[in-house]
Subunit: 240 residues, 2 copies
């Protein structure tokens, strides 16, 4: 290779790395946006703030636009750079991740719509403590999954995967207590159902954060753990 | 190009086409499996067949295994063949499609689990007519979306996209009548909630079938319509 073509190929590789970094940066921006959507949707519920709920609902378009934009960038990188090995895994992980973030955005919209219904109904606040608690839990999972993605941090990704079981059991117990409340006070059925949909949306957000963490393990280790029980993972092998 | 290398490149291109065909074939097999999972889960509910429900629940692993296998094949095609243009779009569409089919499988499992709860509870059959009706509707959407994928059939894909609104309004009306029933007979709350979860799972299956149809349009036309309102699509332009 002569000096000119070496410089040329260094230039290409620098440009390529820059494009991969950009993909990650844009994914993080999308992650930050959906995290804010969750936070604002839950605040709208807890504070009975219908304008904030409407804002979240209307802002879902921005999330969708980001997905289209990032997926487009990924397709262009695949077509032009034809990445292999870990670069290919990064692009595929970003494509999968935008799909989960987009669905988290949808769930945040659902929370906002149910918050609106509850605000208009002027009902009690049964289940709000659980909503607050679980929403903080899944937002932390989402933040950690994104950080793990940005840093290729296997330990943090594994921690998120383990966290999902805790969210599931908090969800189950909250649903059970809401069901009991409904039976005791049938007039509350409509409003309690709205809170149940909100809890279910939060539980789904936990699942998506868990998926994001699994993509981190895939992209760093080339190992697809999507359908392995977290308790059966050989973590020492993953951390090696 | 001399004759040997021409034969060689023809051989490669034949082999490549064969690999792409295989991806489609495996996707169709996965689609057939999840369609059967929905059908059996709903039959288990309607016939109170707890063994069939358990079978569906246990069979979810087969769906998951297929996803991993097909995704693996896609990654290998991307790494070795470095496809461009419509070939690249096909591989990306298959990756997206396996994700939706896997989630349809999850929803079928949820239906089976709720069918089990209902069978054990020995409750009435409130909402079963709606479940049967909506399940037939979304199964047809899924079948049509898969056929559209196999045949690159834009018209059929567009028909599926339009069908989703009909399912959503059937779902909303079924949910409303179940809510009324709950208020009239609070002792039914537990069992009616299970039927509600089943309806919601079916509605989600409709969404995923809709996604599959959108990927067909993406792969044939290179156009991402995921976040465009079906009523605002310029269909004549798409069919050109």
């Amino acid at each position: 290779m002569d000096i000119t073509s070496e410089t040329h190929s260094q230039h290409i590789s620098k440009q390529f790395n820059h494009e991969l970094e950009e993909l990650k940066t844009h994914l993080m921006a999308m992650g930050g946006l959906v995290e804010r959507q969750i936070q604002e949707a839950v605040s709208a519920l807890l504070d009975g703030d219908s304008r904030l709920a409407e804002h979240v609902r209307d802002n879902d378009k921005a999330v969708n636009d980001l997905q289209i934009k990032i997926d487009d960038e990924c397709t262009r990188v695949l077509a032009r750079r034809q990445p292999a090995a870990s670069d290919l895994r990064l692009v595929l992980a970003v494509i999968r991740a935008t799909s989960d973030l987009e669905r988290i955005g949808d769930e945040a919209s659902k929370i906002a719509r149910n918050a609106l219904a509850l605000t208009e109904g002027g009902n009690g606040s049964k289940g709000f403590v659980e909503v607050r608690h679980i929403s903080e839990h899944v937002r932390k999972m989402l933040r950690d999954a994104l950080t793990a993605f940005a840093r290729f941090d296997i330990d943090l990704a594994l921690a998120v995967v383990h966290e999902d079981d805790a969210v599931d059991s908090e969800y189950t117990s909250a649903m059970r207590s809401l069901m009991t409340f409904m039976m005791e006070d049938p007039r509350s059925i409509t409003s309690v159902l709205s809170v149940m949909w909100i809890l279910r949306a939060l539980e789904r957000i936990g699942d998506h954060a868990n998926n994001l963490a699994e993509y981190v393990i895939y992209l760093v280790k080339g190992l697809d753990i999507r359908h392995i029980d977290p308790d059966e993972l050989d973590e020492d092998a993953l951390k090696r």
